[in-house]
Structure formats: C-alpha cells, structure tokens
Symmetry: C2
Subunit: 257 residues, 2 copies
DNA sequence: CGCGCCGTTGATATTATTCAAGACCAGTGG
DNA sequence: CCACTGGTCTTGAATAATATCAACGGCGCG
C-alpha cells in the first residue's frame, strides 16, 4: 500500500509540478475537497476540520481490480472515498459472490468491520481510486472530544443502515424491472448530490456485478437495459447511461404488482 | 425465560390511551437482566453499569400488534428488547410492506432513526413485549465519558450492519429453500445464545410475515415447511418448530445451485 | 491478429407466484 | 354447547417471471 506508485493518476491534482512522490505527502484537504459536504466533515467548523486532519492517516490509492481490504482483514480504519468508485463484496461459504455496495466519492466504507473487529467483506476498486484513511483508534478518541464529529458519525452509521434497508426493500419486494430502475434512479440522485450530471453517467460495474448487486442474473440485466432503451426511457451504450425520461422511470419503481 | 415479573405493571386502567405503556416502577436492572451479556452493557464494569442506569429511561411495554414506534416518528431513543419479540417493517410508497427485522430479547432496535433523526421504519410487537428505553441525547453524552460504552455502541452498530449484510446475501443470492433453512438455522443460533433451546422454539410471525422477511410469498413458505417436515428435517406444527436434523439443514444452506 | 472478457439475444427450463378452494383453530355470541 | 366467524395455514393447478443454456458479436489489449 505504501508502494510509491510509478505514475500519478491525478485527474484532480492541480499543477503537474506537485509532488509525484506519494499521495500520502499531502494529508487530505477536507477544506478544499469537493466532497466535504457529504463526507465526514460535513457541518464541522473550520477549526474542527483542522483537528480532524490531525488524525487522518495517509491517503491510499487503489488500482482498478485491487482490494482496499479483504474479508477477514483486521479492522483498523474507516475509509472515505475521494476519487473513483468501489464495490463491497462478500463471498459465501460455497464461493458465491455477492455485491453489497457500490461506493462513490464522499462515501465512507469499512463500517462492516466495527462489529467483530474484522472486515466481513472485501472492498475492491472498480476503477483507479483514492481513499482517505481514518484510523479507528484516533477516530474514537477524537469523537469523545468533538460532539459534532460524534454526531456526524452517528448520522453516517444511521445512513448506512438506511441504505442497507433500502436494498433489503429492493431485494425483498421488487421485480427485476423495478430493481434496475431503482438502481438507475438512485445512481442519478447520488451523482447529482456530488455535482455530476443526474442524467448522464458511466456505470463502473459489469452486467454481472450489477446483477449480483440487484439479485439478478447478468442476462436479465442486459435484457432489461435493452428494453428500457427500446422504450425510450434510457439510452444505453455499454456502460454509458443517459436517462431520457426520468418521470416515467420514477413511475416504474412503484408500479403495483 | 420468564423473567421474574415480580414488578410487572399493574394492568392499566381500561379506556387505554396510548399503545405504549411506560412502566413506572423499576428502572431496568441490567445487572440482573438475563440478557446483559448480549445487550448494551456487555463487558461493562459494575460501576459503569450503574452509570448507564443513570441515563436509562423508563421501560415500555408494547402489546402484541402495537407499535413501539412508527415510521416518521422523531428519533428520541434506542430500545433494548427485554421480553418478547418485535418486527421492523417498512412501508414502500405504494403500500407494500416489507419485514426487515425480527428482534429477540437483548437486541437493540431503533437504529434506523440515527441517519435522519426520524425513524424510517416501524417496530411492532409480535407478542406482548417489554423494552428498555435509552434516550439518545443522554446516551451520546455518556458515550463521551465512557470509552467502553462508546466502543460497545460501535460494536452494536457494526453488528447491525453485519446482520443487514447477511440478509442482503440471503435475499440476493439464495433460493427459496435455502432462505427458509438459513432463517431457521439463524433463529436456532440466536435462541441458543439467549439460553433457550436451539432445537425447539415457537415462531412469532405468521407465514406471511416470514415470507415478507425472506422475500417469498406465504404459500411458498408454507409449502417449504411441509416439505422439510416430510423429509424429516424439521417437525412443523403451525408455528411450533422442532429441528430434527441440524447437520442436513446446514448442508442445505450452502448447496450449490 | 487473435484472445479473453464483456455484452446481447434466442430458446428452453425451472422456480416461485398467483389464483382458488378448503381445513384448521381460537375466540365469540347465541 | 354449538354454530359462526375471521384469520391463518395448507394444498393443487395454472401462470408468469426469471434463470439457464447456448451461440454469437464486439471491443480492448497484448
């Protein structure tokens, strides 16, 4: 992980001249991070953000396909996604793989380790990504000193639970079509909240991963995309998505039976 | 576990008003509660448990079929189940109901309110039940003063997330049969952890509720119970369950497609 | 260029749902 | 005591939804 990577990825890094050495060089600059409003420091005063910086570890870069952490790894930190996207995956005993989360910049990952102090699932980069490391020991200390941070953390835990409940509702009570629509609508909202286009985005998961995430087979996902495309709801070109008729999409999520 | 109800509530006056009845007398006695080892105070020193008592609200009694809280209610407290059993339910926009949790004594419920400060789901008693109330404001204060409590809470949050992930795995990748077996095996383990029989227990949910919980229809649940019964895996008599062949059950959970 | 992964599409099989009928059971009132 | 009632549970047959199997096209990459 401390591997001083051979090349810089930096789609964001200003000025090429800046340190090629390591991403750890600069601690995360929450104050200037685009995601500060939806990430951990949301609502913190400037001075508090400084305090928070004091406990941040170095950032880590995760190449596409590589793991931020694997199932069974000791729980040492939470991670805030800064750039890129990642998936949370669990492997059942018999080798079946299930995608349980799809994480965009600003999301906090790693919470699955809090219960047992070991990560129960693995997190893998879907593209070259970068995460801020928040060592858990330091975080707990800081939390005791900063009620706002404590509160933020609780909010984030709660949000995580709500997200999971949303997925339970999706998997437990929706048809294939509704699931995929809900997935698209949800993604749209999340991209919008992050300042990206709500109508045009690129999926970072294969059909198989999307299927696993939604409890469907990859063929079903593919067929549905084609269907939506034909019906003029969404333009689909491989992983490129352009939402054409959002109102009608929303109707589809809650159709009866 | 018929918890010495020496101080049970004086049956309230007729003309019942609120569905939730607070118990005036005794604060919860964690120190003597059968569930202390799996509940919030697990691992706390005796003096710490006393401190924890200081912030506990009154206990509440919830009659079968009534709500501990409803969706949309302001988030004011967490609740520890003391006696009985409850379900967590969400109602989707179009009126579909989905059971998302089945709670036994020792479980902490109400965490779904942490994200937005409103409960996103409702919790309803499946039988006459009793919960300890832990006001959230007091809890956050206490948490700052007691690292052990803070840590316990984090563990519980994490456990909750792991439980949800388990359900996601179940709903996302298991067949009907596997789901129902996993449900039984899980229940068995939870009853065992609480000092009850691991092989004989009574379901507190209807077939429909179980189906909702597992993403199946009630008829499917019924058929599968009959099938398991015929195969000598489980004796099923209405809601009475007696596990006959646990090893074979375990095999069924992870059968390859 | 050829190879491997990914995505699409069709035909078929399987699984679970839906619709329907009736049994069971506890509680209620005549 | 019995019949009645409403909710729950079981079971069967028909149906719909999704998975599976299979073939092929495309794209990126070494």
């Amino acid at each position: 992980m401390t591997s001083t990577a051979s090349h810089t990825v930096s789609s964001h890094a200003p000025g090429g001249a800046s340190n090629v050495l390591t991403i750890g060089e600069s601690r995360a600059h929450c104050a200037h991070c685009n995601m500060r409003e939806i990430c951990l420091p949301a609502g913190l005063a400037a001075t508090e953000i400084e305090d928070l910086h004091a406990i941040l570890g170095k950032r880590v870069k995760v190449h596409r396909g590589e793991a931020l952490y694997r199932a069974g790894a000791p729980f040492a930190a939470l991670y805030a996604v800064r750039i890129g996207s990642l998936k949370t995956v669990v492997l059942s005993d018999d080798g079946r793989e299930q995608v349980m989360g799809y994480h965009l910049p600003g999301d906090l990952v790693g919470l699955d380790g809090m219960g047992t102090h070991r990560h129960e699932s693995a997190v893998t980069a879907l593209e070259d990504s970068e995460c801020c490391v928040i060592p858990i020991g330091h975080l707990e200390t800081m939390e005791r000193l900063m009620p706002t941070l404590q509160h933020n953390l609780h909010r984030i835990f709660g949000r995580e639970i709500n997200i999971d409940h949303g997925m339970l509702l999706l998997l437990g009570s929706m048809h294939a079509e509704e699931r995929l629509v809900a997935f698209l609508v949800n993604l749209s909202a999340r991209y919008k909240a992050r300042g990206y286009s709500a109508t045009e985005f690129v999926l970072r998961m294969t059909r198989e991963e999307i299927g696993s995430y939604l409890g469907l087979k990859l063929e079903t996902v593919s067929r549905l995309f084609s269907k939506f495309h034909d019906e003029g709801l969404v333009q689909v070109q491989g992983r490129g998505i352009k939402i054409i008729d959002m109102p009608r999409l929303r109707l589809l999520v809650n159709r009866r039976s």
